[in-house]
């Protein structure tokens, strides 16, 4: 491909990023698709669209935006308005398609039980319940029989309000009924991780109902959403899919002057910064800081990259109105070096990939430099109007989170404590002494329901210490956790500086007397801490408890996991006989007993408190032995 062709391709693909012109995307869709299909390493996925209206345009746009997110989708599309029938009657075509994700494209047109005018509250409640139950039965069936994740539209509002403003509170009015139905959907989604909401109630408000609906396309083609609004809808669904697969970004790198505050701190001084409610622009910067703070609170790592003297830069956060404080940032680069250089250093310090970072700067020259030199870093065209910064970031869905788990909330604290660990390490000349002084404790146990979300998150976003880079959706992880034919282990690691959280996952399939390790990964937060040795100690104990005599490990090389190419050899595995160019296999004969390899990690019991020794003792209660041997969640494993 010539460089001219490449740059033409890049120019075309820019149309898929803010500001997106739906008309242009519709017009250029084929050229866009050709360019996107030429991307390397697209991840195949299977998505079923079940429609309550015509879905041709939905499928076309969703394909584009899934390609943008690095997926290569294969689609199943239900017949017109067959979203319920396909599931209720187990359409063989859908069942044999085996989707990873089912997207249910319904809208307010698909509500069957709108109340009659002036229905009493009790009657309205009955209709609400029947309507909600109808959908819930579909979701349950999809979840239990297809094992797919479900993305379900909630309800947009109709353009017309026969009861006027009283539709907002009158129980028998459609607007009020739809809002209550949306609350039912939300309640279900909170309790069931297999259901995700595509919030078209919000999207239609953002778009404007008159632009969201089109009489022409509804009455002639039964397209419930206008073609232009379908672009917005598809982009949103693709962002949800991206988050399911762990591809949301992790780190927001921020410039300071005229990005987080108005003015140039080096020239104006802290006291003259435009920040605060007594100035319109100051209030806008405050609101942007608040937005960034909210991102940080739910797990997005913040970093500063500013052309400033470091002391001046830090002083800006002492401004009395500054919502962001220095301690909110896990990395801080304020100097006169080129920003691409600083961003690479930030990535290295935080041990994250460049492709997990978003860079925000009001200066177009700085943005262009970073975009040119580190194309893996997302560099949105922010412009210079601070009132639009947050909506531009949001429109790209960089940090879409379909579920916020506890480890996300603790992420900044982890990165900050890691700085303390690194500083502490420099005081030791012997690495073993350093590890011993960390006073590490690990909880290693079979998958527990309370950790399944975090386990699925790690499985789908860990790239470096990942032996096979196999990905599993949440529903699959849940099924494996309950399947006696698998040995599953999660590992949490804490030390004197703090809790690293859940950092390692292992899944092995039991085949007669052999354990085949399908998946073994570890967060790079805890590299070189012997956590992989502690996990292996736990695997050996599980194997001995179950009479497994051989372990087979596989390494499947990827662009990012070279660090573990010799992992099994280091553990003492022998090369297997079935290796090829695309994978290497290794095997290990399990000894009857083996001293623990992890010397500096104290393994704690899991919640139930028993040990394998206790379980195999003649005096053990039968149910305890059953737990230990059958690898049920909550089984406590090791002393």
């Amino acid at each position: 491909m010539t460089s001219e062709t490449k740059s033409q391709g890049a120019a075309i693909l820019r149309d898929l990023h803010f500001p997106v012109s739906p008309e242009k995307v519709m017009r250029m869709r084929r050229a866009l698709k050709r360019e996107l299909l030429a991307q390397p390493n697209l991840l195949p996925m299977r998505i079923a669209i079940l429609g309550g209206s015509t879905t041709t345009e939905v499928k076309s746009m969703l394909e584009l935006f899934l390609l943008v997110q690095g997926f290569q989708p294969t689609f199943y599309e239900s017949g017109y308005h067959c979203y319920a029938e396909d599931v209720q009657f187990e359409n063989p075509a859908l069942w044999s398609f085996k989707p990873d994700v089912v997207f249910i494209h319904t809208t307010w047109h698909n509500v069957l039980e709108f109340p009659e005018l002036m229905d009493a509250e009790a009657a309205v409640e009955e209709r609400l319940r029947r309507e909600a139950d109808r959908f819930e039965s579909l979701w349950e069936k999809i979840h239990t029989q297809l094992g797919a994740l479900i993305i379900q539209n909630n309800f947009d509002l109709p353009r017309l309000r026969p009861l006027g403003n009283s539709e907002a509170f009158e129980p028998s009015a459609r607007v009020n009924f739809l809002m209550r139905l949306n609350a039912e959907f939300a309640a279900y989604a909170r309790e069931h991780s297999h259901l995700l909401i595509n919030d078209i109630h919000y999207l239609s408000a953002q778009t404007g109902l008159n632009a969201w609906h089109s009489h022409t396309y509804w009455y002639n083609f039964h397209m419930a959403v206008s073609p232009a609004a379908t672009v917005t809808l598809a982009r949103n669904v693709a962002a949800i899919v991206k988050s399911i697969y762990g591809r949301s970004k992790k780190c927001l790198v921020l410039d300071l002057d005229n990005t987080l505050w108005g003015g140039v701190i080096g020239d104006d001084g802290m006291q003259n910064l435009i920040l605060g409610r007594d100035h319109p622009l100051g209030e806008a910067f405050l609101d942007f800081q608040r937005y960034v703070k909210d991102l940080q609170r739910r797990g997005v790592i913040l970093a500063v990259c500013s052309k400033n003297d470091a002391d001046n830069a830090r002083e800006g956060f002492s401004h009395p109105d500054s919502i962001l404080k220095l301690e909110d940032f896990s990395a801080f680069k304020a100097n006169w070096s080129p920003k691409p250089e600083n961003i690479r250093e930030i990535a290295s310090e935080l041990n994250i990939g460049l492709d997990s970072m978003v860079f925000v700067d009001d200066n177009p020259a700085e943005r262009a430099l970073v975009a040119n030199q580190i194309p893996e870093v997302e560099t949105p065209e922010l412009g210079s109007d601070v009132t639009r910064f947050a909506e531009i970031l949001e429109s790209e869905g960089y940090f879409e989170a379909h579920k916020v788990v506890q480890d996300d909330l603790n992420r900044s604290a982890y990165y900050n404590s890691n700085t303390q660990r690194s500083t502490f390490q420099t005081s030791f000349s012997d690495y073993g002494e350093f590890l011993a002084s960390l006073e590490m404790t690990a909880e290693i146990a079979p998958f527990s329901p309370v950790y399944l979300e975090r386990i699925a998150q790690l499985i789908n976003k860990t790239n470096q210490f990942n032996l096979t880079t196999k990905r599993f959706a949440s529903a699959e992880v849940e099924a494996i956790a309950q399947d006696r034919n698998f040995i599953t282990l999660y590992g949490r690691l804490a030390d004197r500086f703090g809790d690293n959280g859940l950092v390692s996952v292992l899944i092995g399939r039991v085949v007669n007397e052999t354990l085949e390790i399908d998946l073994w990964l570890m967060s790079c937060r805890v590299l070189n801490r012997e956590m992989e040795l502690a996990m292996f100690d736990a695997v050996i104990e599980q194997c001995n408890a179950r009479g497994i005599r051989k372990i087979v490990g596989t390494y499947i090389p990827s662009k990012k996991n070279n660090v573990v190419s010799d992992h099994y050899l280091k553990l003492g595995f022998a090369p297997g006989e079935t290796s090829s160019e695309s994978f290497s296999s290794f095997h290990y004969v399990v000894p009857n007993s083996e001293p623990a390899r992890a010397r500096f990690i104290h393994r704690t019991a899991s919640a139930s408190g028993a040990t394998v020794e206790d379980a195999s003792s003649p005096d053990a209660k039968p149910e305890l032995a059953e737990l230990a041997l059958n690898n049920k969640p909550g089984c406590l494993i090791y002393r």
Partner: protein
């Protein structure tokens, strides 16, 4: 569409139609009868309406498209007259 935006030429529109209909590029020239074209269905109709609207900022209705007999009629309806 901005006032100074480039309008689609006849050749560009025909190529887009080739692609919508799944035809080899350069198949359509303008004199073809619409109801004799392969793959002509409601999906194509939607895409052609959108093509006309986005290409030249022309609002056309499905009834108007259905009233066209040839590809040339469609080009005139979509306001496509320019040659490249």
């Amino acid at each position: 569409m901005p006032k100074n935006a480039k309008k689609m030429t006849r050749e560009e529109f025909l190529l887009e139609m080739d692609e919508i209909l799944g035809l080899q590029p350069g198949t359509l020239h303008g004199e073809e009868k619409l109801d004799e074209l392969q793959n002509w269905d409601s999906t194509v109709l939607v895409e052609l309406i959108m093509l006309a609207e986005t290409a030249n900022d022309v609002e056309i209705s499905p009834e108007q498209v259905v009233g066209c007999a040839t590809v040339g009629d469609l080009l005139r309806l979509a306001g496509v007259t320019l040659k490249s």
